[in-house]
Point group: C2
Chain length 111, copies 2
Amino acid sequence: MSADHVFAALASPARRELLRLLLEEGGQPAGRLAERFDMSRPSVSEHLKVLRDAGLVAETRKGRERLYRLEPAPLMEIRDWLGPYERFWREKLAALSTLLDEMEDDDDGSR
Amino acid sequence: MSADHVFAALASPARRELLRLLLEEGGQPAGRLAERFDMSRPSVSEHLKVLRDAGLVAETRKGRERLYRLEPAPLMEIRDWLGPYERFWREKLAALSTLLDEMEDDDDGSR
DNA sequence: TTGTCATGTAGGAAAAATCCTACATATAGT
DNA sequence: ACTATATGTAGGATTTTTCCTACATGACAA
């Protein structure tokens, strides 16, 4: 739930790759996900645990498999966190644009 | 420049707090930023280095001070990274909304 | 029931992050 | 030149993360 765990979970390239696979290919059993990594299966399982604790994936037991699926809600917290920075970014762009316009007004072709 | 460094930089609460201070209060010298933390000044300095390496802050030497300012461009990379997940999220919401509508249509008041 | 398959967990080694104190550097003021 | 101030860097202790192999669990299949 806490954004701390979400940011921490996203810090690992392996975990972001897991999210990408679940996004692009849909829910999959843990083993099939692990096959795609140059890493032992238990290690991938631990990464899945971190993602689970952050609320970024959920599992459904299906026989002896466990299907993992993407749970995007916590990512929307990240998006909200970004909001104020994006406003700041836009103001910067707007200021730059204004500056460029003024330079163009001044540009009478002289030198 | 790589998104890896940006995600890693954001993983620390102390570094996110630094970004927040720079956003809400504008550029400040390193020492003034450090005062706000329950942590030694050199440690804050190291956090600033991580943010600098990720391109999230920039410094301007002003006499013997170093003014740090927010550099939001890398955060826009993060926003772009979130894009596909946000689409996925919206589709989920839309599906839920449709489902609720159908349930309402079925709801003839019986039972 | 016995064996097999999919998966998680324990325990530990190695690497990385975090935080500290001491020191180095560079600028400003006297 | 000397001192004070603002800051970064070195070196090291401690904690956390990451990854491994070995083992535990729980469901299916013969």
